[in-house]
Point group: C2
Chain length 228, copies 2
């Protein structure tokens, strides 16, 4: 890897507080790879030989069973994946594919475990990241089990609204069919759900979603700090 790449990686939050020696150990056997869109990086059931970090682009985690596929989550810059499997040296429970051209850093799982046991700062960074992932999944589960599909969509729109700088016209960051899968519904139903949200001031045009009355949408969606 080039010096410049190493410097880029050094700036990732996960490595912010760790020692130079630990960092050197982690990057010695690491890979920095660029992938095209729609490339399967990891298949569920395989062993987790590398901890993955999204450096740029967009990666989808998904799972399949009996011919069905579902999107678990979508990852952007600086997100890790396969962390729990790396720690436990266990098979991946999810598959991963790029949704756009993406750069991914891969750290050998053995090295991650080795440094974890010797550098408390890295151990802390890892456990905080893992806690974040875990809590995100719990939120996701609450969202799925406690809300109707319409409510999930409304809250998704509100979340994007905040992420995109409180703009009233948001751009969907992923394809609608993937959004549908993430929200636990079919593409057809998502289409109809968007229409139904018209009653709460939402208008859709392709990837653009416009919120006419943010208060009205909030009243319907009832966003919650413990879910969203």
């Amino acid at each position: 890897m080039s010096i410049q790449r190493i410097e880029e990686i050094r700036n990732i939050p996960l490595f912010a507080d760790i020692g130079d020696e630990s960092f050197a150990t982690l990057t010695r056997g690491a890979y920095f790879q660029a992938f095209p869109a729609n490339m399967e990086l990891i298949t569920e059931g395989e062993s987790a030989d590398f901890l993955h970090i999204v450096h740029s682009g967009c990666v989808e985690l998904f799972s399949t069973w009996a011919g069905n596929e579902t999107t678990i989550t979508t990852l952007y810059e600086n997100s890790t994946f396969i962390l729990a499997a790396t720690i436990k040296d266990a098979p991946n429970l999810m598959s991963a594919r790029t949704l756009s051209k993406s750069e991914v850093i891969m750290l050998p799982s053995e090295d991650v475990r080795w440094v974890f046991e010797r550098d408390p700062a890295f151990a802390m960074a890892i456990v905080v990241e893992l806690s974040r992932c875990y809590r995100a999944t719990i939120r996701n589960m609450k969202n799925l089990k406690l809300r109707s599909s319409l409510e999930r969509l409304a809250n998704y729109i509100l979340k994007q609204h905040h992420r995109q700088g409180d703009t009233l016209t948001i751009t969907l960051p992923i394809e609608k069919r993937r959004l549908a899968s993430y929200l636990g519904m079919t593409p057809e139903n998502l289409s109809r759900a968007f229409k139904s949200l018209g009653a709460h001031s939402v208008r859709v045009d392709g990837q653009k979603v416009t919120i006419g009355d943010i208060d009205a949408l909030n009243r319907f969606a009832k966003p919650d700090v413990l879910i969203d």
Copy 2:
């Protein structure tokens, strides 16, 4: 806490490999408390002042939103809860209540974080436990999103079958209404689902569930190592 209690706690897997000094620090401010059934130990949104460990009995983690409640999971002996919130010093995302008379160990979150940073063996035990919880949640999510309610129930029965020593007559460990909530359905529907599984050799009588033909049930349930 009595010497005997301390000894009991020392034997918990989470503390198996840690140093005596670390253990002393963790238990200095700890509580060992016995609770009756149906007692709310933790309410979502509150700060996570203690890491909890179920020493005996049974604890349910659940969440509420807009008047609805859902069971996230049920915990038994030696399970931890509020681990991620403890690590992040963040509000609990779930509430917890005892389902039966239970003994719970409570370790001050600050002490947990302090020892985590200083004892690599404890750090490793914590991160492995957290990974286990995370992966269990991912499995849960896959179960919910990829399977119908009938399939979820069938796989639940198979899981209990294994947990209870491969016996063909299993005893449901929790009330049916809670099982229904855990499986993402209503009590009425669970009742009907049990009846429907009659077509796959399942008979129900109160808390007793009998599997007539394990192969037939397996063929229908299609259990998967990456979910169950």
